[in-house]
């Protein structure tokens, strides 16, 4: 068998495997117990994206690093909707003030609250085994 044919066979095998793998990724449920996002949370996510909040903030440690991670902001002590709205309205030295309507601010809060319900980040007390594997803490 020529090298070209060998390479084609390897490529076909990889494509079949990745197709099956992708289908599983797209269709299998994850480990989070949070329900699907409500319409309000979806609108809040649009507010998040339109203003590119991820340029400075992270969710699950993914995003920009100028501001704090906001994964569990809504369950942090003292950080309720009023607290979050205050930051959005007034900004900080680095963070601009965002001129959002009351409805948009509420939608953003609902989105962040939904993210909070999906899991925990950062995980400070993870149990690791001898091969470097760690078990996540799920909600």
């Amino acid at each position: 068998m020529s090298r070209r044919h060998q390479n084609m066979i390897v490529m076909v095998i990889l494509i079949i495997l990745v197709t099956g793998y992708d289908i599983l990724i797209y269709t299998q449920p994850d480990s989070s117990t949070a329900p699907m996002m409500s319409d309000t949370a979806l609108e809040g996510e649009k507010v998040w994206q339109r203003n590119n909040c991820a340029s400075c903030h992270q969710l699950y440690g993914l995003g920009g690093y100028l501001g704090p991670d906001l994964t569990n902001i809504t369950s942090a002590r003292g950080k309720d909707e009023v607290y979050i709205n205050a930051f959005v309205e007034s900004g900080t030295e680095t963070m601009p003030s965002f001129q959002l309507s009351d409805r948009e601010k509420h939608e953003l809060f609902v989105f962040l609250d939904h993210v909070n319900k999906t899991g925990y980040y950062p995980l400070k007390n993870v149990e690791f085994n001898s091969v470097g594997w760690g078990a996540l803490k799920y909600r």
Partner: protein, 455 residues
């Protein structure tokens, strides 16, 4: 026009490198001057200008190189389609730039622009793929590995760029964890896709510089190609270890990511055997940039392998160590290889270029990048300590404690930016004759060909 169309992409790519580097310096200043340019163009708008420009530099430089090299080997199927590809990208980039400056966003992470812009981008990639495969299929029998890599890069880029916009569908969007998983899957894989274009270019260049009689056809090369492709397909989930996805997704990513130790160990073995007297060709600019990229591959591969171990990832994730990795790879590896490619094209066309000045810039870029990289790692370590602290601390406290590292990061960034701008300008000047050629009427192009014998 055939051989010059690549230069159009290369000149545009170098301009984007300048824009991306300047935007990068401007956003970095926010770390020490928090309200810097806040009223004019805030961080959340300036950062995507930086990321879009530097990604575009990588993609356009790789594309320009592929068009040029294909023309060297076989006749490009359609220069007109290549030009249409260029126009699509050029107009789309201008549209994105205007939208970002005016604050019109709505995308995500590295693709912050409105998702409607993805349509012409995908159309451009499809044109590229069509032109590429029509140029080669049936014309070349035993494809060397770099043809496989370029072709794979194009095909997977189309798929994964599309995948990165699956969030527009409610099916993905309503399940936040699935949405983020697919999002970061797509990012990891489209980076892998552009790496196929870039690393394929490196292998092509090395074969040409070493005057390899049977370039790119070794079994070992194909083994590493398929290993890289497997990582592109299955290894992305080391970006999302903390996400509560199903455990098997993370197991597979861990296992696949660890296969890259094979590449790392192979690199050490090859280096220890390849200490030979340098030849005249080994002192070419192109070769210098390739050797630099080799060193950065070694450093960043080691870093990536360590970061892919879940125990260590638990510390490094969400810190500037990931930024050190992304900067180390996009600048140290991708940019070095692409600068090698541009240098090769300039040198083989016997264009006048200030070799001594560029050599000095080469060393300046690599030394500054080294300082930049180490500063980011130090910033990351600082953040690890801050995150792991049992005290509740404000982000402002982290910024104050990290101030010295921020200053170093910005200082090295400014030097790096300055050197990249100077280098890019030299290279643009050397490539300008190709752009003049493109706007000449056909009769004058024939005259040019006759005099210079380049086409």
């Amino acid at each position: 026009m055939q051989k010059k169309i690549g230069s159009l992409f290369l000149v545009s790519a170098l301009i984007l490198l300048i824009i991306g580097a300047v935007a990068g310096v401007l956003i970095s200043v926010n770390y020490i001057l928090p309200d810097f340019m806040k009223e004019l163009i805030p961080f959340n708008q300036l950062r995507p200008i930086h990321t879009t420009s530097v990604v575009s530099w990588i993609v356009l430089a790789a594309t320009g190189g592929v068009y040029y090299y294909i023309n060297q080997e076989v006749k490009l199927y359609s220069p007109r389609i290549a030009f249409a590809h260029y126009l699509l990208f050029a107009f789309t980039f201008f549209g994105i730039l205007i939208s970002l400056i005016s604050g019109q966003m709505g995308g995500r992470e590295y693709l912050v622009f409105h998702p409607a812009f993805m349509i012409p981008i995908l159309a451009g990639w499809i044109l590229f793929g069509w032109n590429y495969f029509r140029s080669l299929i049936g014309k070349v029998r035993d494809w060397p590995v770099y043809y496989w890599m370029w072709g794979t890069g194009i095909v997977f880029m189309v798929f994964h760029l599309s995948e990165s916009n699956f969030w527009v569908f409610d099916y993905f969007r309503k399940d936040f964890i699935r949405d983020m998983t697919v999002q970061w899957k797509s990012y990891g894989s489209f980076v892998g896709s552009w790496n196929m274009l870039v690393y394929g270019t490196a292998i092509y260049l090395m074969a040409k510089i070493k005057n390899d009689q049977n370039p790119g056809r070794g079994k070992l090369l194909f083994f590493f190609y398929f290993l890289g492709l497997t990582n592109l397909m299955f290894g992305w989930a080391h970006h999302t270890y903390p996400l509560p996805t199903l455990p098997w997704v993370r197991y597979v990513a861990y296992g696949i990511s660890m296969t890259e130790w094979i590449i790392f160990i192979r690199m050490i073995y090859v280096w220890s055997r390849s200490l030979e007297k340098s030849t005249k060709k080994d002192r070419s600019l192109s070769y210098r940039f390739l050797i630099a990229s080799d060193i950065w591959v070694f450093l960043n591969l080691l870093m990536a392998l360590l970061m892919s171990i879940p125990y260590l990832n638990n510390f490094s994730h969400g810190t500037h160590i990931t930024v050190a990795h992304s900067m180390g790879t996009t600048i140290g590896i991708n940019t070095m290889i692409l600068l090698a490619s541009v240098s090769y094209i300039i040198e083989t066309n016997r264009r006048s270029i200030r070799k001594k000045a560029i050599t000095r810039l080469f060393y300046t870029i690599n030394i500054a990048l080294g300082g930049f990289w180490i500063s980011l790692i130090a910033m990351g370590v600082k953040k690890i300590i801050w995150i792991r602290s049992t005290d509740v601390q404000l982000t402002q406290a982290l910024h104050e404690e990290s101030h010295a590292f921020y200053v170093l990061f910005i200082l090295f960034g400014v030097i790096l930016c300055g050197a990249l701008i100077a280098l890019s300008l030299y290279m643009i000047r050397a490539l300008l004759p190709d752009l003049y050629y493109l706007i000449l009427p056909k009769s004058l192009q024939k005259e040019w060909d006759h005099v210079y014998g380049e086409n």
